[in-house]
């Protein structure tokens, strides 16, 4: 683990150099951003403690007292449904000596109580009681109202709850910007919205968190090659990617890449019931979303909400890439489906995602190997000096009458990866949110 402190002037010097590491115009990336401890520390401050980070879907916490624990950057947090019915997110660290106050990853409770001295917090993170309270009587600065657990802002977009530790950050809606139009393909193709299936598969990859995030934001290019073994095992061939009917699109560093082929991703789930459901619903999707977006509901595609929330339409999986140092990432994976979908589809999606995009899945298995090796090779000093090329599709930008945001022709492209790194550099260079340009 790197030392998590950094002198202010060192930070300023590093921040001033960040633009040297990302050349989004020509598509060159300095490998330093994948191994350097100082850059990682700045990421924790300027990316993870500053951005809106996905913490839970509404369906995971249906009742008062339901909670999960997770992390925002390396900050451990509790996400809970309070007595006010709202979702709260606060540090999982006692105000007294800093111990964790919740050790379970999921459950239901009335209080989060520290094992150390019995300080006990409510579902909204406020301090409710301590052991031996009379010990604090008299001339003391003990004020329960001031000693609650440190709160994050929580805002939601169509059932997806995000938390943010920066009081100066824009609203979630502003932060998502035009990308909401793409998120709606998943979150709002049916009036019932989505729900998450119970459970959360977690795994550790020895890779920098940006490799998987950029993979989901734009890398269709790897699919026919990396995943050749799974595609041949399942279908006998690789998918037919059509440049003229596929796109990269991004807004504020969030990105979707995909085709308008409707069911390309869903087809790998090996479930005739899922395909039947999608085909039955296609007209309804088009009514809600328009023709183009209705063709994205389960198409050959991937996406990432900056910085670390990735998803696959059609496979119906959301996942987050949680940093654990510059060379380690904890992956959290969920399966979702339309809340109004027939009950039996739950099993189809649950097992289908497991077969394809879980740590033992026939697709995902090969990805981790790539991300880890891309990270590990940077041990070499000469290797570190070599910049990475991300220059595909430099002149592929188009105007599209329906698609929102910055749009590029063909999903075999690196426009979204460049936009991801541009947003990364914007945030890393900026002292406050006021200095972060809209993209």
């Amino acid at each position: 683990m790197p030392n998590l402190s950094m002198k202010a002037d060192d930070k300023m010097k590093l921040a001033a150099k960040i633009s040297d590491f990302v050349d989004a115009e020509e598509g060159y990336i300095d490998r330093r951003i994948f191994w350097d401890d100082a850059i990682y520390l700045l990421e924790l401050e300027r990316i993870f403690a500053r951005c809106w980070i996905f913490v839970a879907h509404d369906s995971q916490l249906p009742e008062v007292g339901d909670f999960i624990t997770t992390t925002i950057g390396e900050d451990a947090v509790i996400v809970s449904r309070g007595e006010d019915g709202k979702i709260h997110t606060f540090l999982n660290s006692c105000s007294h000596r800093g111990n964790r106050v919740c050790f379970a990853e999921v459950g239901k409770t009335r209080r989060f109580t520290c094992n150390f001295h019995g300080w006990s917090y409510g579902l909204d993170g406020s301090l409710k009681s301590v052991s031996l309270p009379k010990s604090y009587d008299g001339r003391s600065n003990f004020d329960k109202a001031q000693l609650g657990l440190h709160q994050a802002r929580v805002e939601s977009y169509k059932g997806m709850h995000f938390a943010c530790f920066d009081p100066d950050a824009p609203t979630l809606e502003e932060y998502l910007g035009d990308f909401r139009w793409y998120l709606d393909v998943i979150l709002d193709n049916d009036e019932g919205g989505i729900e998450f299936i119970d459970g959360n598969i977690k795994s550790r990859l020895k890779c920098n968190w940006k490799f998987p995030a950029e993979n989901f934001v734009g890398d269709s290019y790897h699919a026919p090659w990396t995943h050749s073994s799974a595609l041949i095992a399942m279908f006998g061939k690789s998918p037919n990617i059509r440049p003229e009917r596929s796109y990269h699109a991004n807004a504020n560093g969030h990105g979707w890449e995909g085709g308008l082929d409707f069911i390309g991703n869903a087809a790998t789930l090996k479930s005739p019931q899922i395909l039947e459901y999608l085909r039955e619903q296609e007209a309804k999707f088009a009514e809600r979303l328009g023709k183009a977006r209705s063709r994205m509901v389960a198409s050959l595609s991937s996406a990432n909400v900056f910085p670390n929330l990735s998803y696959l339409a059609g496979h119906n999986t959301f996942r987050t890439w949680n940093p654990k140092g510059p060379k380690e990432t904890e992956l959290h994976t969920w399966v979702f489906l339309n809340a109004n979908a027939p009950e039996e589809l739950k099993e189809e999606y649950r097992r289908g995602v497991m077969l394809t995009f879980s740590p033992a899945g026939v697709f995902e298995m090969d990805d981790g190997e790539n991300f880890e090796n891309c990270t590990a090779v940077n041990a070499g000093v000469v290797t570190r000096r070599q910049k990475l090329h991300a220059g595909m599709g430099l002149d592929s930008g188009i105007e599209h009458e329906e698609l929102k945001g910055n749009v590029y022709q063909s999903q075999i492209n690196e426009a979204n990866q460049r936009a991801f790194y541009q947003r990364w550099a914007d945030l890393m260079s900026a002292e406050t949110w006021a200095d972060v340009p809209a993209r």
């Binding site: 050790f103 379970a104 990853e105 999921v106 459950g107 239901k108 409770t109 299936i197 119970d198 459970g199 959360n200 598969i201 977690k202 795994s203 550790r204 990859l205 020895k206 890779c207 990396t226 050749s228 073994s229 799974a230 041949i232 095992a233 399942m234 090996k270 904890e330 994976t333 969920w334 399966v335 739950k346 099993e347 649950r350 097992r351 995602v353 497991m354 077969l355 879980s358 740590p359 033992a360 026939v362 995902e364 298995m365 090969d366 981790g368 190997e369 790539n370 991300f371 880890e372 090796n373």
Partner: protein
């Protein structure tokens, strides 16, 4: 249950030493096939109605009895068709990540055989330790508790009919599970 009934029940449940050794040998042979990536031969050890389950493990409080659920996300929740897809993928020449191959061993221990109500099926408990090496220094260890249902077929062969593998970790300490446990 009085003492006599207990003795009778135990005798009814008694398992012969020969059978225990036969089942141990079955599990050791299975482990050796997995070590050597003889996955098609491994599939032949499975009953047609195999259920191979590696549930996700969650850290929940003791008072919370929902530690496992069959409808929760899992690493494996497979029938024979799914297992065959996984084997087919691993055996493709374009499984780049499997070349050079992973160097494995599957260590099986604490084997305990219990009779069931069905005279041709036994519940078998065991521990499994899978040690994997890849590249120069990539080492991963999977540790788990297994409960199997092993069945004797009409032709006399033993087959694996059910397996539940409970990993010790709630966060898989590895990028993937490119083997069976």
């Amino acid at each position: 249950m009085n003492q006599e009934e207990q003795i009778e029940a135990r005798e009814h449940r008694a398992v012969s030493v020969e059978l225990i050794i036969e089942i141990q040998q079955f599990l050791y042979r299975e482990a050796r096939l997995l070590d050597g990536e003889h996955l098609h031969e491994w599939l032949e050890l499975l009953a047609d109605d195999i259920h191979y389950w590696v549930p996700g493990v969650q850290a929940r409080y003791r008072k919370d009895d929902a530690r496992f659920s069959p409808t929760r996300m899992a690493f494996f929740d497979d029938d024979l068709e799914y297992l065959k897809i996984r084997v087919a993928r691993a055996k493709q020449p374009s499984a780049w990540a499997e070349d050079p191959p992973t160097r494995h061993f599957h260590l099986v221990s604490n084997i305990e055989v219990e009779a069931t109500d069905n005279p041709t099926e036994w519940t078998v408990h065991s521990l499994i330790l899978n040690n994997r090496h890849r590249t120069e220094d990539d080492e991963m260890e999977l540790k788990a508790r297994r409960v199997d249902l092993i069945r004797r077929n009409e032709d006399g062969c033993l087959k694996l009919a059910r397996r539940k593998v409970t990993l010790l970790e709630t966060v898989l300490q590895a990028k993937n599970i490119n083997t069976f446990l």
